[in-house]
Amino acid sequence: MRIKGRVDVEPELCKGCGLCVAFCPRKVLALADEVNSKGYRIVAQVKPEECNGCTICAQMCPDIALTVWRSGRSKEAV
């Protein structure tokens, strides 16, 4: 079974810096047109089916706005 992942974005914590977008190896994430209450464009999953829950986005996020979930066969993650 292929490992599948999901990224939850906390919209009020995201500042739209784009580090997760630049580092996502499968181009799952992109900045959306939607803005949060501070006026920052927030990140969204544009290709959610590609996510394998590698957690690189959460490691690069300076604001701990991303929570990664994973299913399928895998050892305990970071």
Binding site: G18, T55, Q59, P62
Partner: protein, 253 residues
Amino acid sequence: MRQVTAKPKALTNAPFHYCPGCTHGIIHRLLAETLDEFGLTENAIGIASVGCSVFAYDYFNCDMQQAAHGRAPAVATGIKRVRPQNFVFTYQGDGDLGSIGIGETIHAANRGENITIIFVNNAVYGMTGGQMAPTTLLGQKSSTTPTGRSIGEHGYPLPVSELLQALPGAAYVARTTVTSPSQIRITKRALAQAFQAQIQGRGLGLVEILSTCPVNWHMDPVEALTFINEEMVAQFPLGVFKDFDEEVARDGK
């Protein structure tokens, strides 16, 4: 699905006030994860500096103190000597540690104080508007060096880690960065070893972390990471400069 990332317990729920893309947030998280992993969150006392990281006392879920500009190592010395059972760390920027606080830093290292210093080097005074810091690179433009830093007028960038490794009281000195997931892991290993220096009573542990300041560098956050990798690392080479445990120094490179 199960959750595979989580906010460390050593951080409060206060959202960081840092600018978008500022790597202070990554360094806060790494420090908090290390505190959690060592089981020190209940026991630690942190000293916040003056600068962007002044509000660190709002973010860390341990006892915090805030020191006058550059005086964090002196305050940490006092706290550690009165409460040796506590884990004591400072979190300082380059304007704080490298400029007004270089005296306190050198003497704390020379006395071999059992404290841990997290030194965030972003080559400018971030909070006050991007003025030249002692660590500003040669040729780098800042608001007080609009044509770039020159040797004749402003002197050389201050190599803090290279200076401190010469002191016998410093047990662990390393320079790392957080520009990629692999560098983040190296930084976390360095933090763990600096924690060990204090836990084992070996002397001062310092981790200098090259960090971005996208706003004052006038770059977007991804360009700022490239600037560290291409320009900053050339003048501030990464590596472990001193390790009380020689084996770790050899393998950790």
